[in-house]
Symmetry: D2
Subunit: 146 residues, 4 copies
Amino acid sequence: MLTNLQTIRIEWGDCDPAGIVYFPRYVEYFDRCTRALFERAGLSKRDMLKTYAIAGIPVVDMKAQFVIPSRYGEDVTVESCVIEWGDSSFVVRHRLMRGDAMAIECFETRVWVVQVSDDPVKYEGRSIPREVKEKFGAAGTAKAQS
Amino acid sequence: MLTNLQTIRIEWGDCDPAGIVYFPRYVEYFDRCTRALFERAGLSKRDMLKTYAIAGIPVVDMKAQFVIPSRYGEDVTVESCVIEWGDSSFVVRHRLMRGDAMAIECFETRVWVVQVSDDPVKYEGRSIPREVKEKFGAAGTAKAQS
Amino acid sequence: MLTNLQTIRIEWGDCDPAGIVYFPRYVEYFDRCTRALFERAGLSKRDMLKTYAIAGIPVVDMKAQFVIPSRYGEDVTVESCVIEWGDSSFVVRHRLMRGDAMAIECFETRVWVVQVSDDPVKYEGRSIPREVKEKFGAAGTAKAQS
Amino acid sequence: MLTNLQTIRIEWGDCDPAGIVYFPRYVEYFDRCTRALFERAGLSKRDMLKTYAIAGIPVVDMKAQFVIPSRYGEDVTVESCVIEWGDSSFVVRHRLMRGDAMAIECFETRVWVVQVSDDPVKYEGRSIPREVKEKFGAAGTAKAQS
C-alpha cells in the first residue's frame, strides 16, 4: 500500500495566541498531503483534471482526532495512505507524527466527481478508473486494503 | 437550548479554482461560529480565559459531512448549539444552511483545559463550571441536551 | 467620494503566538473591504464578472504601513474608498481604525482585466467603463478624486 | 550578502476561482521566506525570541508589485535577502521567480522589538545586535548593502 511521508514545518502564522497550531490549519496540511500522496502515485492534480475530465476529488466526510498539539518551529511528519477504495469514493488516512508520538489522526472520504452543469456546485460521482487504483497498489477489492 | 445563527458571506479568497469553498475554510468558519455562540451566552473568549484561568477550549475530535458546496458571493447561515455537556468536555454542532438545504453538518468535541507547564502543548482538562453550562440553558445532565 | 465602513472582528485564528493579528490576514481583510466597497457601489463581483466579461480586478501594486497592532476579540473598522481612477487602473485606500487611532493604512492599485487566452495567467487591462466610475461618484478626471 | 532561495509549491487551496494565487497568500509565502532566510543565517525564531528577549520582528511597512500571476501545481522560487540594515529596523527584499521571469517583488521593513507591557500591542524598537547583522554578512553601514 503506497504511503507518503511529508515533513511539515509548523509556521509562526499557523499558530494561535495559545502558541499552538490553529486547528483548521491541520485540515489544510492534510489536503496538501493528499495532493502529495497522489503525486507520489504519479498523479498530479493538473494532469488528473485533464486526463480524466474530473472536477476534482472533494472531501465529503472527515473525521479527525487531535491528541497532541504542535508548536511553531517544529517539524512534524504526516504519513498518508488510501486505506479503502470504493467504486466512486475512497478514504485517505493521515497520521501526523510529532517524533514517535501520533499527534493527530484524520480520515478524509473523497469522491471522484465530474461537473454536470455550468454551476460549480452541481457535480456527480463517477467510477474511479482501475488504473488510478492500481497506481496505489490497490488490489481488486477495497477490503484487502483496509 | 441556546442556538446561534451566524450569516457568513462566502468570500472570493475562500474559494478554490473549482469555484467552490476550499473545505478547510469551513472549519475556520465553524470555529468562528463557536466563538459567536459563546458570546451569545455572554462568554467572550478574552473574559473566559481571564475569569476561569483556562488556556482555551481546544477541539479534540471533529466530524464533518460536506453535502452541498457553496460558491463565492453567496450568504450562508450557520446554526450552532452545544448538544452535549460532559464533565470537562462538550460537543458543538454546526449546521451550515444554504437556503433551506443543509449543506454541511459538523460536530466539534471541545475540552475545557488549563495549561500545566510553560510548554503550551501541555494542558489538562478541568471540570466545566456549572455557571458556564447554565448560560447555555443546560440542565444538570448532558443527556437531556442531546 | 463613496466610502465604505466595514467592522471586522479580530478572530483568535487570525492572531499569532505574540497575541496580535498575523499581518498577512490584514491583506485578506482589505481584499474583503474592496469587495464590500464595490457592493456599496452596487457592483457585486459575480455580476461584474458577467456584465463586463472581466476576469477580475487584481492587485498589481500594494503599499501598507502597519502602525498599531490589534488583538483577538477586538472590533476594528476599515474605511475604504477609491482615491484615484486611471483608464484601466484605480487605487483603493483602506484605513484600519482602532477606535480613533489609524492602525494601518493600505493602498491597493488594481487593474480592470480580461483574460486573453485559456491560460489564467494571461490577462490584459481594459478601459474601465464610465458607468462603473460614476457609481463611485467619480468625476471625469482622476485627479479630482485624489 | 546572504541570500536564501526557497522553492514553493503553489497549492490548490492557495488559488482563487480565477485559477491563480489569491494575492494575500503571497504575503504569507514571503513571511515564511523571511523565517527561512533567518534560519539560513543560523537564527531560528524560537532561539531569537529567547536569546534576545524580543517579541519578534514585525513588519511595519510593505511594498509589493505583482507582475505575473502563478497557477496551482507550479513550483516557484523566492530569492530573499536583507538589502538594508538600520539601527532597529531592516528591509527584506523578496523576488518570486516563475522560471526566469520575476513575477513579484516585495519589500518588507521589519523592526527588532521588545514588549514593554503585558499588553501585546505595546512594543518598542531596540538596536539590532551587531552579531545578528554579521550573520547576514552585513558590514558596519547599511548603505553598503543596498
